[in-house]
Symmetry: C2
Subunit: 388 residues, 2 copies
């Protein structure tokens, strides 16, 4: 393939003129326009400005151009100016592939989407990806997204890192014995996680303190006078699920209330399952029937509220309901839902900061960060908050 310099030579015009003729960035006399195009045609040249063209125009070697662009080596003021002028005249942008190959880096961060069924959604996780992308960009990186393969999530991670497509990963939705974490640690691949895993594994993560959060809202209910408080949580075994249940016990303990097994329902994270659990709880005999329902997710709380509304129960008055996440719709529900807000933008920014520290091998003050959620009291637990 020919270079722009050769095309210009063949057409007997200055290099810059050849560029203008081919790019259309600036008008050029008809005759030159034609001869440049003819030259490009015969040489089989298609316009593509590289460091060579800049060097040719500035009259220096490509190394000098590189030094100027990266400020990586002393260059005299005069040539620096010439190079920069040439670069802007040609609208030069360094080719990322060339750079990547040379540096063995891509400035790309991998993020694996979780498999979510058609019609379902995970608003909070979706927002996390958004803020993560935002944060990553502030470091000059980008996010490359990929899908977990159903059976072996590891493969996708391995493939991406082995083919040099990404420099590291951000993980979300971690769990105990998370196979991905085990593998990435073993292979010494840089990553940071949104969520914890085994306590004995030492890796950088940010997590929301669900235990503390549920304790907060439970205490809030106790302070409102509730003594029969039920919990609708996730099945045993999940890390954050168990932590949240523990927070419920913490608060009851602190108030010297004894938990009853019949008040604790552990079901999967869907609104219908939560609604069914609520139905069970309401069917308890009057004297043990709970007056407050703590749900470990807004999704569940929404299902519960929907059920209670159908039954004609006055939420907030007859029975209190709380959620977790502060899903954007939760304040638009009827009545608005008391919940725990995850500062998802902060969380994302902190995870990214941890990863960047790994990539640049900077020491971090803390590699494990726990963020407390904020209790947002609304009318579903405290009807006096009802906005007119």
């Amino acid at each position: 393939m020919a270079t722009l310099k050769e095309v210009a030579a063949q057409a007997h015009v200055p290099l810059l003129t050849a560029y203008h003729a081919l790019s259309g960035a600036q008008a050029v006399p008809e005759a030159q326009q034609r001869s440049v195009h003819a030259a490009a045609e015969t040489l089989g040249y298609t316009l593509n400005i590289t460091i060579k063209d800049v060097a040719a125009l500035a009259g220096v070697s490509i190394a000098t151009v590189s030094y100027v662009m990266n400020n990586s080596y002393p260059v005299s003021e005069a040539t620096r100016r010439r190079v920069l002028e040439a670069a802007t005249a040609l609208n030069y942008r360094p080719n990322a592939n060339g750079r990547n190959l040379q540096a063995s880096k891509t400035r790309l961060i991998g993020y694996g989407w979780h498999n979510i069924k058609r019609g379902q959604s995970a608003p909070l996780l979706d927002r996390f990806t958004y803020w993560m992308a935002q944060a990553v960009e502030s470091y000059g990186y980008h996010v490359l997204t990929f899908a977990h393969t159903e059976d072996s999530p590891i493969d996708a991670y391995q493939e991406l890192i082995q083919t040099n497509r990404v420099d590291g990963f951000i993980l979300a939705h971690t769990n105990r014995n998370d196979a991905r974490i085990r593998h990435l640690l073993e292979a010494r691949v840089p990553f940071a996680a949104f969520g914890r895993a085994n306590d004995r594994w030492n890796f950088p993560y940010v997590d929301v303190d669900g235990r503390h959060g549920i304790a907060l809202v439970t205490s809030h209910l106790i302070s409102l006078g509730h003594t029969r408080i039920a919990l609708i949580g996730w099945p045993e075994g999940s890390l954050s699920g168990d932590a949240r249940v523990q927070g419920y016990f913490d608060a009851l303990d602190a108030a010297a209330l004894s938990p009853q097994a019949s008040w604790i329902r552990r079901v999967e994270n869907t609104s219908t399952a939560a609604a069914a659990a609520a139905a069970d709880l309401l069917a308890l005999p009057t004297q043990t029937r709970p007056t407050a329902l703590v749900c470990v997710s807004d999704l569940m709380a929404i299902g519960v509220m929907s059920y209670l509304n159908r039954c004609g129960v006055q939420i907030g008055y007859d029975i209190a309901v709380s959620g977790f996440d502060d899903d954007p719709v939760s304040e638009l529900l009827y009545p608005p839902l008391t919940t725990l807000r995850q500062p998802i933008d902060d969380l994302a920014a902190q995870v990214v900061a941890l990863l960047m520290a790994e990539l640049e091998r900077l020491p971090m003050p803390q590699r494990q960060i726990l963020v407390a959620p904020e209790l947002i009291v609304r009318a579903s637990t405290d009807p006096h908050r009802q906005v007119p």
Copy 2:
């Protein structure tokens, strides 16, 4: 930098043994282990399997290895087997950067996130990105996400394409005179859009037929006996906003009902603005007060319902409400919300198909696709649908 072959030679072991010693993929006698590590140390070699190593182990040239890996040239069965065995023995994965540089392609698709304020959300668009990533992957591509810069969204697109980071783009949330589309068309950058723009521009897009959708739900309300139907839409000027209003007129026309100006409110896409609009509408004199409220988004419908619930109005009985999008929560609301479902996974898949056709320069039967949304009738317009 040295190659694996040299390390093996220096350590006086076979190449494969050197690989095993360094990778730990397979056990190796202590003595060899040590000498290999020593050799690697002195040569400054860090394990990194390239096509050269495969070629060396298979006893062929790197060209042959490339041919085998890509099936791009006839190779005798015997050497093909030798090469494949060598590749698997060394767990070889082609380096994407090398490939990208050579091919001037990255198999990456750019997608610009829309700026969404902290605390807000756009569940449908978030789901779109998910399904898009999924679809893109089925073609062997990945998605690179980036943020629109506030002032000049063009810059980000230009930068990514000029630096060869992406092969094309997927656009969402398009609008009339969309600057991005104008620019990409001019620069002849491959892209496909989720949403329309100017009719005179010829570019590949997929859009949901909002006009038809709103007509559907309006007709549905008419068939239930409503004659005073209000519309809460977006401000004039937006493409899809205007189309949806048009659908409302279509349906009234078809039923020979004459629209009243006071029934049409055009406010921004927030739940509070919609709630305020609903309050205005309810304040109309009894004989002109609407009995049904058509909202152009679920978000608005949720705000309206929240307001009506606060007022003690019986939604579905006293007044009908409908939305648009089928946000996952809409069926969990009280009462469940009648809405129009966008088959967001299909939409994403089709946009991606269009883009792939552009990239591979395949002819497509259709470059402009309009998808009809599906009317989902729930209790907010038809209380008999109420699930127990």
